[in-house]
C-alpha cells in the first residue's frame, strides 16, 4: 500500500479496508485481520491502525465479537458504497464542474467521452 501525502494515514487505512471489503476479500460476517496483523502488513504504528478501526466501527462497517475480534457487518458493502457516493457527489463532482467551467467544456463533450 502506498500512502499519499495529503490524507491522514488513519483515513487512508480506513479506505484501504473499505476497498478490501468492496472487492470481496472480506465478506459480510468474515473475520477481518486484527489491528496488529494489518499494522505489520503495512509497517505502520498499531495505534494508527486502531484509529482506522475505531472509525470503521463507528460507521458500523466492522464490529467486534468476543473471542473472534473484528468481523464485517452485514450491510458493510452498501454502507461503504453510499458513503463513497456521497463523498463523490459532495467533493469530487463540484471540483469536476469547476474544471469544466474553467476549460469551457460542455455537457455534450462529456457525454461524447462515454465508452
Amino acid at each position: 500500500m502506498d500512502f499519499n501525502g495529503h490524507k491522514p494515514i488513519y483515513l487512508q487505512i480506513y479506505d484501504h479496508v473499505c476497498e478490501r471489503i468492496l472487492n470481496g476479500e472480506f465478506r459480510s460476517g468474515d473475520r477481518v485481520m486484527s489491528v496488529r496483523e494489518l499494522g505489520i502488513e503495512l509497517g505502520v504504528n498499531p495505534n494508527t491502525v486502531m484509529r482506522a478501526f475505531e472509525r470503521l466501527q463507528m460507521k458500523e462497517i466492522i464490529a467486534t465479537k468476543r473471542g473472534i475480534g473484528f468481523y464485517v457487518c452485514d450491510d458493510a458493502k452498501e454502507k461503504i458504497l453510499s458513503e463513497q457516493k456521497k463523498e463523490f457527489l459532495e467533493t469530487e463532482v463540484p471540483e469536476f464542474l469547476k474544471k469544466m467551467e474553467l476549460y469551457g467544456i460542455k455537457m455534450e463533450d462529456i457525454i461524447k467521452c462515454r465508452v
Binding site: H6, P8, I9
Partner: protein, 276 residues
Amino acid sequence: MIKINNLDFAYNNTQVFKNISLEFEKGNIYGLLGENGVGKTTLLKLICGLQKPQHGSVTVDGLTPSMRQPQFLQNVYFLPEEVITEDTTPEKFIQKIGVFYPRYDFALFNQLMKELEVDLAKKFNELSHGQKKKALLACALSLQTDYLFLDEPTNGLDIPSKALFRKVISQYCNDETTVIISTHQVKDVENLIDPIIILDRDDVLLKASFAEITKKLYFEYGPERLQNAYYTEMLPGGYINVMPNEDGLESNINIEALFNAVMKNKETIKNLMQNE
C-alpha cells in the same frame, strides 16, 4: 512507564538538560527528534542507566536505571548508533548476551535474521554496515524486552530494508512495550512513530501524539505560500503550509515540515500545544 522529573544533566561544563520532565507510556512507539547535539542519545543513555542524572530523577516502572539492578537491566535494551565490530558471529553474540534476558528467543532471532536477509555464517566484522545494523536489530528484537531504545536504527539500511524495519518494529510492539526511536531519518519511520518528541537545547519543545498535533496544526498542501503559516516549504507541485488548525480540519502530518515549524516558532507552538 518511564518518568523523568526535573532532570538536569551536563557533560563537564556543557549543559544538556535543564529541569526537564517527561513521561513515556507503554504501548507506544515514540519518535525522538532534535537537531544534532541536543541530547537525544544522552536522554536514551539516562533512561537505560548508562548515565546518571545530576539533579532530578529518572525511573522506569519505579526502578532507578543508574542503580543497574538486574530486574531493570533484563527488561531493557539499547541499540546504539555506532555498531560494534566484534570478531564473532551475530549468533554467538546473541547466545552470549541472551542468557541475561528472560524472554530471549533464539528461534525468533533466526527468523528475524532470515527476514532481514542477513548472512548467518558471517562475523560482524565481515558484514557491511547495513548488514551489521540489521544483525544487531535482529539481536535486539529477539531479547523481547519491554523497553527498547533504538538510536538512528535506519542509518545505512537499503531501501527494502527500511520497509522491513518498519514491519519488524510494528510486529515487536504490544501493549506492554515502550519503543523509543531516535532519528534524523524521519521519512524512514514516518508512519511508524507516534507520539513525537522534539528536543531542543535544555528543553523539550514538543511531546504529542499525531491526533493531538493535527488537532492544533493543519498541514495544507496547496499551490501557494500562505501568510499566516508557521512554516512553508516548497514541494514538487506546490507548497506545504503548517497552519494553526482553526477550523478543526483533518490533515496528514509531514514530520519534516512539523519539525521545521516547531524550530521556527518554539514558544508559540509550545504554548499552542499546551492549551486545551
